[in-house]
Amino acid sequence: MRAHLRLTVLVAGLVLLALVPPLAAALNQPFYLDLLRRVMIFAIAAVSLNLILGYGGMISFGHAAYLGIGAYAVAILAYHGIYNGFVQFAVAVGASAGIALVIGAVSVRTSGIYFIMITLAFTQMLYFLGISLEEYGGDDGMRLARRSELADLIDLGNPVSFYYLVLGVLIAFLYLSHRLVNSRFGMVLRAAKSNEARTRAIGIAPYRYRLVAFVIAGAMCGVAGALEVNHTNYLTPNVMHWTRSGEIMFMVILGGIGTLGGPALGAFVLLLLEDLLSGWTQHWQIILGPLLVLAVLFAKRGLAGLLPGDRRDG
């Protein structure tokens, strides 16, 4: 039973999240809906980064790039009058995957500090590209012309529907990454992280598997970006700022690298703490910083690592 505690906590957490909209309505606190929606969008980004960082050992310091590409895809299409959400999300995913393929093809050949620096450099390039796009608001950004229209299925203008869409995507992506990391593909990815020389010796060249994982993670994060721009209703290049990449990375590390639900938990803890402390004092970062240092020092496998878990759930 102990072995499944982590999974139980994850499921319980997701059930709680499903209960938030009626609770928020009953307590007349719509603000929480908004806050948790944002948290879940970042949880999606963290889950996607965990696929390559946690299971693949690829320390990408540029994951916000795909958040940006997803956001820009939706906002630019909307700017040109294409409001169809299915088209927008498809373009967001396709563009994120395509750019991840290009960035990955170069960076996945490297490892360690070089990989960190190359992924950071590519993301900075995209960030400055965003700033230079005067047509789409440049430095200041621009309002999203209209939220994505998903036929009559889900109305993103309705906070509750939008909330459940984000929750649905989060659950779907958690399940997807669970399947991925336990498949033959996932085993190769984890093996290459654990011991590259051994992996090559048994006949597997890790490069392409890592690249495929890098592309999948980028595409997943593109969805988070498309949701994020709908959430804020505003496009800004800041979505690709390097501190954003660092934040997503921190969520993964805080929550538990290479655990299924850990990164989502990390997103919750980090963003809720931020919200709590910033409501309390203007200098909230002075408190948050040391807290995070302590968390990393005393919970080496992250918060999820504090719970006993089945190694195989990953």
Partner: protein, 249 residues
Amino acid sequence: MAEALLAVRNLVKQFGALRACDGVTLEVLPGETHAIIGPNGAGKTTLIGQLSGDLRPDSGRIRFAGQDVTRLRAPARSHLGLARSFQITSVYRDFTALDNVALAVQAHAGHSYRFWRPALGERALREPARCILEEVGLGERAEVLAANLAHGEQRQLEIAMVLATKPRLMLLDEPVAGMGAEESQRMVQFLSSLKGRQTIVLVEHDMDAVFSLADRISVLVYGRVIATGTPEEIRINPEVRAAYLGEED
């Protein structure tokens, strides 16, 4: 005489000023256990690295099973049937013993672009892996994390992974290194049980192991093969005694 399974010609590998491999020529016949011995720093591990494809030689040729493999990298050579163990135990420490071997089976069961079905439940991978673990004597320890296995067991596990790739030639880099007397005895026994079925290149410091396992021995000194012959021939070779065995007395 049968054609060599592995033929090495004039292999040279230089690290800065050091010529770790200085024109090595060597033939391994099908079915034999061919030991490579030599004092520390003779270039044994460098040689194994070049045979497995982890190191690229500066010059020279390596033919394996009638094919020039000099420019092939380790994963490609593995698929031709060359499998190595490492001097310093190299297993997936965070996988169970069974998962370690199952992954080696998987590596030789087509591509791994399978994204959905859990590999941990695939009988096509687990069953053969379990058989091989039984064979090397780790059947009872299948579900133990590799990191929690004793040192000797980890070495056995590595041999199991080598076997799981269905090799035509096993390159074993000091398989009994760091083992206690009893463990090393068991390993030697196991390796001798492979004799005839497997072709083995064995780099080893333990002379008891070498002389009880090898059909032929090549002696490597300063990156050169100074003699090749049966254990008896090597034992009485004056040059070898002077360069190597003499040090042991």
